[in-house]
């Protein structure tokens, strides 16, 4: 049996190892246009900051692929013929498969600002190894950079450019940083933190036009409010979308929507073809279509898709949501949801510190945790949400979820005092 996987990101490689663990005799091939070896995309910023080498980003020793007999092919897949069970690469090489997994990941969104057509150089995303090379080429101490897009990748790119001594302007379209995940007070705390590092962060401001020289190199931008910002590098980090464009040209494209459409067993509309990770859109009756695009979901989906390809019954359901990040020095842990109907929230910031806690309660049970500036064990929060614990119960036990360094446990007295005061107000 020949298993072929398109994409050597975390979903694809996790699937490859999971298949090998169960099948000793299967041929397993992983194809990538981007890199020879699986690397940690989430760590791209540390390579840019010179804290890691690109080789350090590889989570496995290279000899593991030989030992596990996972064949690596470098090339761009240009055709998929589901009838003939064959892939064709850009080089013309043909790769037959018995079972195929599409784990092609996602691509950066490209906004349609005026002047974008003329851009040939100076515009970077921050997703691939090739992006990293572009970023490094354009970075110079004392140079100017504009980064547009107030999400996780944006702030990482800003931190890197700032680290290398660039004069950075961070344009955030929203009234505060990352309203998709942070409340106003939280977003403002992060914005202030970024600003204190010497980054010029501007809210409710977006790019209207990109300026280029005769050679198509970006020289600056004009914002929607008419302000002109000169720059040597323009970072565009306005989200990603599932990589499906390449499928429109193949002989037998699988059904696509936002992503490659799959069922809860990661089966596409084509026989013997599965899809998982960032590129997959999971559709199931009675559920909203699901596109998950973070590291953790890709790893999970890769594992589940491998089971499905091996013939196990799989009915994927995402667990309670969690994610983590770091904004310059402020660590962030989030678990659960803040969107439940009728939910109330408790928010408190530790007096004089960049530490805050936000907890949502719906129907008498905690639903979401947003924790900034200290370390928490997300699995404890997951359990509390699953066990439907009331907010006050959790507040009494909040220390059980702490995961700070030894001697460095965050003092929760102030948070608890604020919670008690809030409750008394409600009681009165």
């Amino acid at each position: 049996m020949r298993y072929v996987i398109i994409g050597n990101g975390v979903a694809g490689v996790t699937a490859a190892f999971a298949i090998r663990e169960r099948l000793d005799d299967a041929a397993i091939t992983v194809i990538s246009a981007e890199s020879d070896y699986f690397f940690s995309r989430t760590a791209l910023m540390y390579a840019f900051m010179d804290r890691l080498t690109p080789r350090d980003l590889e989570p496995n020793e290279r000899k593991v692929y030989d030992r596990q007999r996972i064949e690596r092919v470098r090339g761009l897949v240009t055709d998929l013929d589901a009838g003939a069970h064959t892939l064709t690469l850009e080089s013309g090489a043909r790769i037959p498969y018995d079972r195929l997994l599409i784990a092609a990941g996602s691509r950066p969104n490209r906004p349609n600002w005026a002047g974008m057509d003329a851009v040939r150089d100076g515009l970077v995303n921050f997703v691939t190894l090739q992006d990293l090379e572009q970023c490094e080429r354009l970075t110079k101490r004392g140079g100017r950079a504009v980064v547009a897009g107030g999400g996780l990748i944006g702030v990482e790119l800003v931190e890197c450019l700032h680290h290398h001594g660039m004069d950075v302007t961070f344009l955030v379209r929203d009234p505060w940083y990352w309203p998709a995940a942070l409340g106003e007070a939280e977003g403002r705390m992060i914005s202030e933190h970024i600003g204190r590092h010497g980054v010029s962060i501007t809210h409710q401001e977006a790019i209207a036009r990109v300026l280029t020289d005769a050679a198509g190199k970006v020289t600056g931008v004009v914002t929607e409010s008419g302000k002109r910002l000169d720059c040597d590098l323009l970072g565009v980090t306005v989200g990603v979308h599932p990589a499906t464009e390449w499928l429109s040209g193949v002989r037998t494209p699988p059904e696509t929507g936002r992503g490659v459409v799959v069922d809860r067993a990661f089966r596409t509309s084509l026989p013997d073809v599965w899809a998982a990770g960032d590129c997959a859109e999971i559709r199931a009756e009675g559920r909203a279509p699901l596109v998950e695009q973070i590291w953790y979901s890709a790893k999970r989906q890769g594992e589940a898709a491998a089971k499905s390809m091996l013939g196990d019954g799989v009915a994927y359901a995402p667990p309670i949501f969690y994610n983590s990040s770091k904004f310059f020095e402020i660590e962030y842990t989030t678990v659960g949801s803040f969107r439940a109907a009728g939910s109330r929230e408790f928010y408190a910031r530790v007096l004089g510190k960049e530490v805050s806690v936000r907890i949502a309660e719906a129907d008498g049970a905690v639903a979401g945790f947003n924790m900034l500036g200290s370390r928490w064990n997300h699995t404890v929060f997951e359990r509390w949400i699953a066990e439907r614990r009331p907010l006050a119960w959790c507040m009494d036990r909040l220390h059980q979820a702490q995961f700070d360094f030894e001697f460095g446990r965050q003092d929760l007295t102030d948070i608890r005092r604020q919670f008690a005061a809030r409750r008394m107000e409600a009681a009165a």
């Binding site: 020793e61 790893k299 360094f405």
Partner: protein, 357 residues
């Protein structure tokens, strides 16, 4: 490549095995050779009013630890574990490992280093040396080596010694900080480490045994005494002078800061074996690792921490000195150093669930 300033380039070269790094390694090695085998530094010591080259060396060593420690505390001031640990290392170096022995000497007591114990300091477990000390020192040595060391390692891990007290670790974790990432992370290096460090431990234990035998029966067996003293002098040359001094510190800019501690130190070997059965471990938060590799990169002992973190496995490795830098550099707060007497509640639940299956 990023267009860097000259200062950035030199700093990078020095900390990434560039030409300047090799020059520095050569300079440190030359320093040690001159210190051990010439009287050059005796002259320098006398010129600055010190009694011997070893006092001068102690002073320089202490200065390096204090200067590096200040740098370390500034850099990690947000991390209490690093601040406390580094402060203790600096305090121990300036007192027990430097000024206290000097003071003892002045008041005509033995020049005794309370921060060193057998088997790191072979003399302190050697009858010929030990039994000439006043009783209090003998008791301290014996109780320290045989009870305090293993007991504390079982309770807190070997870190209580290797990264809180020991001078070798003290220098590594202060002045050596810019070189910590150079340790070899390959599985081949791990294999070599297990072989080499236990070999040195075996050699050291055998030597100690022979020294006791010689002390007891050396008069009756002159050949035993002859070979034992020859063995001891080879041990002093190869293990103490070459491996702990020249290779240990000279290799900083090339192999990282803990070459001696990781591959050769008999004390670390003994503490590591105790640590394996003790309470200390690095706890890994479930499914939170992003495989970035910062933990492995900045592990001075060359432990591939990431391989455990991405597999959601809490672990205890014999070589881990508990410096805590893996937990510090982890951008997702996945790791925590802990002394656990029993599994955390959530782990117990998992175990119960697994048992029920």
């Amino acid at each position: 490549m990023i267009r860097q300033t000259a200062r950035d380039r030199i700093a990078h070269d020095l900390t990434h095995r560039g030409v300047s790094a090799w020059l520095l390694a050569g300079a440190i090695t030359a320093f040690y050779l001159a210190l051990y085998y010439t009287e050059f530094f005796t002259g320098v010591a006398k010129a600055v009013g010190l009694d011997s080259k070893w006092t001068l060396y102690g002073l320089l060593y202490t200065l390096a630890v204090v200067t590096g420690g200040v740098f370390m505390i500034r850099r990690y001031r947000h991390n209490r574990y690093q601040v406390v640990r580094t402060s203790v290392v600096m305090a121990v170096q300036t007192t027990l490992a430097f000024s206290v022995p000097q003071i003892l000497k002045m008041v005509h007591q033995p020049e005794y280093y309370f921060s060193y114990l057998w088997p790191l300091k072979l003399d302190y477990g050697t009858p010929g040396y030990l039994f000439h000390l006043p009783l209090g020192y003998i008791l301290y040595s014996v109780v320290g080596s045989l009870i305090l060391v293993p007991l504390a390692a079982a309770l807190f891990g070997k870190r209580w010694y290797c990264s809180w007290i020991c001078g070798c670790g003290g220098l590594a974790n202060t002045a050596g900080e810019p070189f910590r990432h150079l340790s070899n992370k390959s599985s081949a290096a791990w294999k070599f480490e297990k072989f080499s460090i236990h070999t040195v431990l075996g050699v050291c234990l055998l030597l100690t045994g022979l020294l006791f035998a010689t002390y007891g029966a050396g008069n009756r067996y002159p050949m035993l005494a002859k070979y034992t003293y020859e063995y001891q002098s080879w041990y002093g040359f190869i293990v103490v002078a070459m491996l702990s001094g020249i290779v240990g510190v000279g290799a900083y800019p090339i192999g990282g800061t803990r070459v001696w501690c990781r591959f050769f130190c008999p004390m670390a070997a003994l503490l590591g074996l105790t640590q394996k059965v003790g309470r200390y471990r690095i706890t890994v938060k479930d499914n939170m690792c992003i495989s970035c590799g910062m933990c492995s990169k900045y592990c001075e002992m060359g432990i591939d921490v990431r391989s455990y973190a991405q597999a959601n496995t809490s672990f205890t490795r014999a070589s881990c000195v508990g410096c805590g830098l893996c937990a510090e550099v982890c951008p997702r707060g996945v790791l925590r150093l802990e002394n656990v007497s029993r599994p955390a509640p959530q782990e117990r639940l998992v175990q119960i669930a697994a048992a029920g299956r």
